[in-house]
């Protein structure tokens, strides 16, 4: 009994025998090194996609502390995606979806170069997504598998010319579920119809992404006509109304938790773009468990009064027990905050009731 126990103790110190999928070198996935996958040709830091590595970009992206992102899908030979207009696409086993995060060292000068931070992969195994996180080395020659997360100091010049310093946080693999968790499973957020029914130039001029992917044979059936399919509009688009932009922003940055199957389901606050009942998306809604997050305010949204609205208050905070979103960002998104503030301000003023 004691000998068996010692084996278990010793075993738990070594990567090889703790988890069946822990990297044991570079012959089993997940590989220790990102380069082993062969996603890129040439120097890894150039992020040149190899053939079969299909780029994509959601039209309404996550803020993610203003990082630049490079995203791709790789399907195994002969395998295809089952398309769905409204819901999640079904990917075949062996599919990998990847996202590399980086900062441009100077947002106004691409020649200043980049600091590449991490690459996150989802690999489809046995009908489920498994998360792998790779942290790039300082030399930017490769990235190494890491489950525990890491802090990376960053310095850059932003669009306004300000020098910004941030201790960037690479998540640990448990934290993936805090955004990607839905009804107990992991789901992708970017590769879905409403995000990719949009134009992107991958080098051949602007093309609809769904059309391009269909032409590459990635789907197992012909797609319906594009204008019959849902499409988000990018919240950066200044030709849209403030309501359209704000609701696109909330759909893309909040609704994966704030929906009936997401991690914020207990709150009852639903921030998806198709939510019709204003009470459901926060109008005159009293929060249940906000704690300090209430900021001394009483309702999630007070129409016409962003300064009295908890939604705005929480988006404008960096306190760990106040800030929204809870975990994935460490800075406030000035654009998102502005859009939601303007949207609430634009609502016809309405009293939510006498404060207690």
């Amino acid at each position: 009994m004691i000998r068996h126990l010692s084996f278990l103790l010793a075993c738990s110190l070594l990567w090889g025998c703790v988890e069946e999928d822990t990297p044991t070198g570079d012959d089993t996935r997940p590989y220790t090194s990102l380069s082993t996958y062969g996603f890129f040709t040439g120097p890894l830091a150039d992020l040149n996609h190899a053939p079969g590595v299909v780029p994509f970009a959601p039209v309404s992206p996550l803020f993610s502390d203003d990082t630049g992102k490079d995203r791709f899908i790789v399907l195994p030979e002969g395998a295809q995606i089952t398309f769905d207009a409204e819901d999640r696409w079904v990917f075949p086993d062996g599919a990998i979806v990847g996202k590399t995060f980086y900062y441009d060292l100077d947002a106004n000068d691409p020649s200043a170069g980049r600091q590449i931070l991490e690459t996150r992969l989802f690999e489809r195994i046995g009908g489920e997504w498994k998360a792998h996180v790779y942290v790039w080395n300082e030399d930017q020659t490769d990235a190494e598998y890491l489950i525990i997360g890491k802090s990376i100091p960053t310095t850059r010049v932003d669009r306004d010319g300000n020098t910004v310093e941030l201790e960037y946080r690479v998540p640990n693999v448990n934290q993936c579920k805090s955004c990607h968790g839905q009804d107990g499973d992991i789901q992708l957020l970017g590769p879905r119809t409403r995000q990719l029914n949009s134009m992107l130039d991958v080098g051949n001029g602007p093309e609809n992404q769904l059309t391009r992917m269909e032409a590459a044979g990635m789907f197992d059936a012909s797609l319906p006509t594009l204008d019959s399919l849902p499409a988000l509009t990018g919240y950066h688009d200044e030709s849209l109304t403030v309501e359209q932009r704000a609701r696109n922003y909330l759909e893309a940055n909040c609704a994966h938790c704030h929906n009936p199957g997401g991690l914020a389901s207990p709150s009852g606050l639903k921030l998806g773009i198709n939510v019709d009942n204003p009470y459901d998306y926060g109008v005159c809604r009293t929060p249940v468990a906000a704690g300090s997050g209430s900021g001394g305010l009483f309702y999630d949204i007070v129409p016409g009064a962003p300064e009295e609205s908890i939604l705005v208050f929480r988006m404008n905070s960096l306190d760990p027990d106040v800030k929204m979103p809870e975990l994935p960002t460490q800075t406030i998104d000035p654009l998102g905050l502005q859009l939601v503030t303007d949207w609430v301000a634009s609502m016809p003023a309405q009293s939510c009731g006498t404060e207690p």
Binding site: S12, I148, D321
Partner: protein, 402 residues
């Protein structure tokens, strides 16, 4: 990983014979965070992860998503998890897996909630402490122990203090046992919210703002909380001033509240010792008492009226002698400076058929404790202290096996 100092007699390096791994405090916040989080990520189903005696410090939320894992310390006074330097994450510990057990350690000074378990089946908390070192402060985290949307919840032998909302909070869950815990110095000692089939028994709830709250709130995915059996609790001296951050519903609980029932139905309160709560012993009220302008059509699934609650065989003494907040408003409505230990707001849903009286909130055999129907729906006009119409028997609930 570093081995802890184990008991000498069993001759191995584990804290207990059945530990899969034992982690000792490293003295470094970076290493403690890495050691414990790595163990939680790398755990296999059935593992018992033991935390040795001493103080661990953490900078981030600890998360667990592997089923059937136990985290066990050396004792709530011996294994301390110090979150006072936490920079990221809204909880100290966040669990999303089934079959989770936590026992014998202390969680201290989390900026947010102490230990949250979301959407899990079979959750067990035994002999845990959750507290904040500065005493009752609005800046403390909201909840100490926080199972939400769970099934089969067992909380026993725990000690929770100074939470700025509820010390022990069970939300939107079913089949719950909250037994033999000590909760003090919280705004709400124990709160059962939008949950069904709970047993709250043998708890020592003292010096909170409100001792035990049984709430049903609108706008939540799980509605119609009911059937809490609240018995043999000591609910004493819950006169802590309310330090909840403004804007939270719990901020309206008047200091000096023994038991508060909000909109919930079919609960049973019996054989409790309820004393020295200066606002009220037990108050059964509808949501309209806290939100006068509440529009029921905003949540058609919600029933704001508390119905069919049964309060019997409790021992009340010295309650309601110096009412505060909402309780003071109630006292004033009766032109009194004190209020009766048992209160019902008298607001009924006239759309429902109560010809058989089954919706009545019944009060029976509570010694010589007095009672009042506020008639709050009629501006307190027909407020009455005649208990006869509501001296009836109600539901008898079974014990819970989580």
């Amino acid at each position: 990983m570093i081995w802890g100092c184990a008991e000498e007699e069993n001759g191995d390096n584990q804290l207990y014979p059945d530990c899969t791994t034992t982690i000792a405090p490293s003295g470094s916040i970076v290493d403690d965070q890495d050691n414990v989080q790595t163990a939680l990520i790398g755990a296999s189903e059935g593992d018992i992860i033991c935390l040795a005696e001493g103080t661990f410090t953490f900078s981030d939320e600890l998360s667990l998503d592997v089923d059937n894992v136990e985290i066990r310390g050396a004792g709530m006074e011996l294994t301390i998890l110090d979150f006072s330097q936490q920079e990221r994450g809204a909880n100290g510990i966040a669990v999303t897996s089934d079959g989770f057990t936590a026992s014998k350690f202390s969680v201290r000074d989390t900026p947010g909630d102490g230990l949250r378990v979301t959407g899990a089946t079979d959750v067990t908390f035994l002999e845990l402490e959750v507290t904040w070192a500065d005493g009752p402060k609005s800046s403390n985290g909201a909840y100490g122990l926080y199972p939400v949307q769970c099934t089969n919840v067992h909380i026993e032998g725990c000690k929770v203090s100074y939470a700025s909302d509820a010390g022990v909070y069970v939300g939107q869950s079913t089949n719950i046992l909250v037994k033999d815990n000590e909760v003090f110095g919280n705004v709400a000692g124990i709160e059962v919210e939008n949950s069904s089939d709970a047993e709250v028994v043998g708890n020592n709830t003292h010096d909170n703002t409100g001792g035990i709250l049984i709430f049903d709130l609108p706008g939540l995915p799980v509605q119609g909380g009911k059937r809490s059996k609240v018995h043999q609790n000591t609910i004493v001296n819950n006169n802590q001033s309310n330090f909840a951050p403004e804007g939270n519903i719990v901020g309206q609980v008047p200091a000096g509240t023994g038991i508060l029932v909000l909109s919930s139905d079919l609960n049973e309160f019996h054989d409790n010792t309820i004393s020295d709560n200066q606002s009220v012993g037990i108050a059964i009220i509808s949501y309209f008492m806290l939100e006068q302008d509440f529009d029921p059509s905003s949540d058609p699934a919600y029933d704001p009226y508390p119905e069919s609650n049964y309060t019997h065989d409790n021992t009340f003494s010295n309650n309601g002698n110096a009412p505060k907040g909402l309780a003071l408003v109630i006292a004033a409505s009766a032109q009194a400076s004190k209020i009766e230990p048992m209160i019902w707001d008298g607001i009924v849903d006239t759309d429902k058929d109560n010809s058989d009286g089954s919706l009545n909130n019944c009060f029976k055999d509570n010694g010589d404790a007095t009672w009042r129907n506020l008639d709050a729906g009629n501006n307190f006009e027909n407020t009455s202290t005649d208990p006869a119409p509501y001296t009836c028997e109600g539901i008898s609930l079974p014990n819970i096996t989580p």
